[in-house]
Symmetry: C2
Subunit: 288 residues, 2 copies
């Protein structure tokens, strides 16, 4: 497995793979890889004959007060994960490679970015969409793999692919969880032991939401109240939002009378955790 840092090198790797008639799978990551990422790479490995993984902490998707500078970086450990999971090449560019001059061109996704995380992270999805288009244009994959953990990101990227006629397919893979239910995230390593203990309440709240929903409670206020009740058991948890939205438009709904997404962002000390589950759909993506 090669690790390359320039656009010329990764394009050369892809060109050679294409010459051997490989299909190209692509897994974009910010590094600090965990079992969730590994499952994305393994899914790409199953679907495609050549797998590229990018490792890049994209500055344009972080707000000024966010954790860009302290975001965990460890390309050496990440390379071992990639290799074991079956990646063929890692693309790990520096900022000067992806943003050699001031970025003037942005991909903006309207409406779908107004709610949920978009409300609290202005500019975040503009940065995500833009860097994904850059990667897609550099690598030219047949399929790109994203985790359901970042549910709004998946909706945004899927819409971007449709609306910009990008010639690739987006594959969504299930959220992976720790044995106690905590959704895997690179940010979990920020947590102190006490924070880690309380962090389990996010998935517990979503499970409670599913339970109450399955008993016939389709009123969104009631479902949100049930989730907030569980979260309130963690005194250091501060919910940023707890919402139930239409799964396609990501707009608020009053009643779960269609496929819906229950999603939350919760501050746990300095760390912002997110999790979500689907209501009214049996696709296993939330693994709850």
């Amino acid at each position: 497995m090669k690790i390359v840092k320039t656009i010329e090198e990764i394009r050369q790797e892809i060109r050679q793979a294409r010459q051997h008639s490989h299909s190209i799978g692509f897994v974009p990551t910010m590094g600090a890889l965990h079992a969730g990422h590994r499952s994305l790479i393994e899914a790409a490995r199953k679907q495609c004959s050549f797998v590229a993984v990018s490792i890049y902490v994209n500055p344009t998707q972080f707000g000024p007060a966010e954790d860009f500078s302290r975001y965990p970086r460890n390309v050496t450990a990440d390379a071992i994960v990639c290799e074991k999971a079956g990646a063929d090449v890692i693309f790990a560019p520096d900022d000067s490679v992806l943003y050699p001059t001031e970025q003037r061109v942005w991909v903006v996704v309207e409406k779908l970015t107004d709610n949920l995380c978009g409300r609290f992270r202005p500019g975040h999805f503009r940065g995500v969409a833009t860097v994904c288009v850059k990667f897609f244009n550099i690598i030219g994959p047949d399929q790109a793999f994203f985790g359901q953990k970042d549910a709004q990101q998946v909706v945004v990227i899927r819409r971007m692919v449709t609306d910009l006629n990008l010639p690739l397919q987006i594959v969504t893979c299930p959220t992976l969880r720790e044995p106690d239910g905590l959704a895997m995230s690179s940010r979990n390593q920020y947590l102190s032991p006490e924070q880690r203990k309380q962090a389990v309440l996010l998935s517990a709240a979503l499970r409670e939401c599913k339970r109450v929903f399955s008993q016939g409670q389709h009123n969104v206020s009631a479902l949100i109240a049930a989730m907030r009740m569980i979260l309130s058991q963690g005194p250091i948890l501060h919910p940023e939002y707890v919402q139930i939205v239409d799964m396609d438009s990501l707009e608020d709904i009053d009643t779960v009378d269609r496929p819906a997404l229950a999603a939350m962002a919760v501050r746990c000390g300095q760390t912002r955790l997110i999790d979500n589950c689907l209501l009214g759909l049996q696709n296993g993506l939330d693994s709850l």
Copy 2:
């Protein structure tokens, strides 16, 4: 030469061409083709072994008060021009093909779209950039051909290709002109005989600018005054802007101490005409 209307068909044509190891040249147009377009197709024909032309009056680049509905449309005549100029395929989609649902994803180009036409056509370049990305993603050309007549468009599209890492090359071709100097434009056919007569003053003003500049006058105010003096000879001409800007940033300058673009938009009755020339560069793109 084939004319196709769906994304599947054009992608199929391109796929076949790629299988025959063709290089792909792409000329995006809004139809109503004239000798300027023909020269773009001929340039593509020289550089590439397979040439695709799109004919599509893109609604998202027109403002509500602009000429979208009366923009000339004549695909039958256009097809003859394309065939004669050596195109291999025309892609002429309907709106429902390019915008099957409400467009939520836009490519926005900052700063470069604030000045010149961008000041007077809010949203225009967002529409242009977005539809070009769509076409580039649908067709996947090696080279795309644009006319210098739309100078700001060329700067915007070039920056977009750079900033989004689009895997293609932009080729700029010289403005083509009528014998009296009027830059060719599909909108010239809107002009009454009297308007047509006065329209020649745009290119005359630019020629005067070049003449005065070549005599050592590098002060922008003086050069603009020289151009406005010529334009004032046409009583029905109403300049929207007459500007000289940095050729790369498109920002206003006081002195032509670097390569610069002299550009104007002039209303001539209901018709909005644009023209431009380069100062401090000998590349023949403005053909003045």
